[in-house]
């Protein structure tokens, strides 16, 4: 945590963990998909479930899913904006197990489009205090990142050399890896890496990575703490991997 995270964020009230943190988790979930979602289900756990309305958690989650940042003056109008955008919003409560009290699972789905972009993406994370967050599950893979850096998510086949290959591309792009987590569902099966780095990979490197054998899916998630450099979706609501 940096000093500017302690005196900060600049945010729309009323709660850093329930509003700003919630917005950031949903913003990460939004950037884990390319196309705008048409339906999103927020499953709230613990304190998130108990005080969601009072702390504006519900509004903040919807705002993040629309690509808004925690200090956006439009945040309080997120429900109306979702309606305009054709986004169905569902809230649900569940015990997600032995996790932080402020935890949410965000499952978003879109209309099936070209190239399978109507995908369903699941992101589970916690708001751990002062607006800081931690994501520990993407699409059922137990990974770990904080949104304090730019994060590359790569789903790939669990084979020797794939991680090295991806790391090589990052190195060639002069990217610097801060943390790397890897999880697989079974030996030789599907695996996912979360790689936190100091800046976004270049588009050329991302395009190249997408064409690498055994890499099935990748997303470049923005750093969400400073609010600098979070890409806006284009006019069709697309973000770029």
């Amino acid at each position: 945590m940096g000093l500017l995270d302690v005196v900060g964020p600049v945010m729309i009230g009323p709660s850093s963990s329930h509003t700003a943190g919630a917005c950031r988790l949903a913003l990460l979930a939004r950037h884990a998909r390319l196309t705008p979602p048409t339906r999103v289900t927020f499953t709230l756990h613990g304190s998130f479930a108990k005080t969601a309305q009072g702390h504006g958690t519900d509004v903040a989650l919807v705002a993040g899913m629309l690509g808004l940042q925690p200090d956006d003056p439009k945040l309080p109008d997120a429900f109306d904006l979702a309606k305009e955008a054709g986004l169905d919003v569902v809230f649900d409560q569940a015990d997600l197990g032995d996790v932080h009290p402020n935890t949410v699972r965000i499952v978003s789905a879109g209309e099936p489009g070209e190239g399978g972009e109507g995908e369903t993406v699941s992101v589970t994370g916690s708001s751990i205090g002062g607006g800081l967050v931690r994501v520990f599950d993407v699409n059922g893979f137990g990974i770990d990142f904080t949104g304090a850096s730019h994060t590359l998510l790569v789903r790939h086949e669990d084979r020797p050399g794939v991680i090295a290959r991806v790391a090589r591309v990052i190195a060639d792009d002069e990217g610097n890896i801060a943390t790397l987590h890897s999880a697989r569902k079974r030996k030789g099966g599907d695996a996912m890496m979360s790689i936190e780095m100091d800046r976004r990979l270049s588009q050329v490197a991302l395009d190249y990575l997408a064409s690498v054998s055994y890499v099935h899916w990748l997303r470049m998630l923005p750093e969400v703490l400073s609010g600098d450099g979070v890409p806006e979706p284009d006019e069709d609501g697309q973000v770029h991997a």
Binding site: L3, I12, P14, T51, Q53, V59, P73, P101, G130
Partner: protein
């Protein structure tokens, strides 16, 4: 990083924290340094904007429980002849009433405790007619104190009750005011510890689950509390228990609190006949 390391530093605490944050770039003129201070100025400007906005309006929050307190106090006669006290309280409540209205505020360290630091620091500075530039290094010290505390426990009412939100905010504010008035690292850290030790055990019991009651008035009280701690530290008084040990005690008491008293809105003043009525009324909406 521990308070022990900061206490031993010969100079202002902000110098120590800036070196920790920026390393070799911790000197004016480097790109890193200038970028850091540009952001800090934005934070300070946003704090002041939230005070101004909050003092100007008496618009009610969504629940109707708060919204007019800051303006009411600000415009009231000073019957106790204590202008500093009145200003600090009004500023702190202004920020938290803005927060309750879903206005734009600076979490410091959290939104629920956002009024304490600007209430104390900007309140004292305006009382003494100091320029805003003089507040930047004290803000660094405030952030450093919060950073040290966060290494021992999560700063969130859900993890340690209000002691884990207003406690750090009051400690940050006490250190900032101490540095503003010339206190060195040793004095500022003891100011922080004196503030913190007197917040241990506070429960987080928001009525209806809303960050309004007791949060708004609590920020006014703990902004004054922070100024009082700075007063002692500037006079050379110290916390008998070393600052790091105070943080340890705060964390262990926070963990001992039952879940009902950690931001769930199910205990304390939230669990009174009036508190339960508010919760019911809002749930029906």
């Amino acid at each position: 990083m521990t308070f022990e390391e900061v206490l031993a530093f010969d100079g202002p605490a902000s110098t120590y924290f800036l070196r920790e944050e920026l390393g070799a770039d911790a000197t004016p003129g480097t790109a890193e340094y200038e970028a850091f201070f540009a952001k800090l100025r934005d934070r300070l400007a946003a704090m002041r904007a939230s005070i101004d906005a909050g003092l100007e309006t008496d618009a009610k929050s969504r629940t109707g429980m708060v919204g007019w307190n800051a303006k009411g106090l600000h415009e009231a006669a000073d019957r106790l002849d204590a202008p500093l006290l009145k200003r600090v309280q009004a500023y702190a409540m202004a920020v938290n009433e803005e927060n309750a209205r879903m206005g734009r505020i600076v979490a410091a360290p959290t939104a629920g405790s956002a009024g304490t630091l600007p209430g104390a620091l900007i309140g004292v500075a305006d009382h003494l007619e100091l320029d805003d530039e003089a507040l930047l290094l004290p803000l660094v010290t405030a952030a450093g104190v919060g950073d040290v505390i966060s290494r021992t426990m999560f700063i969130a009412g859900s993890s340690g009750g209000c002691g884990a939100e207003i406690g750090p905010s009051a400690a940050m504010a006490a250190a900032a005011v101490t540095e503003l008035q010339g206190g060195n690292a040793h004095a500022a850290m003891h100011g922080a510890a004196l503030a913190l030790v007197n917040t241990i055990g506070l429960v987080c019991d928001p009525v209806g689950g809303y960050v309004e009651v007791p949060c708004v008035s609590r920020n006014a009280f703990y902004a004054v509390h922070a100024v009082a701690a700075a007063q002692l530290a500037l006079a050379g008084l110290e916390s008998f228990i070393p600052p790091d040990e105070v943080v340890g005690a705060m964390a262990s008491v926070g963990r001992l609190l039952p879940p009902e008293l950690r931001e769930t809105g199910e205990g304390g003043i939230a669990d009174t006949p009036t508190g339960r009525r508010v919760a019911l009324r809002m749930a029906k909406r």
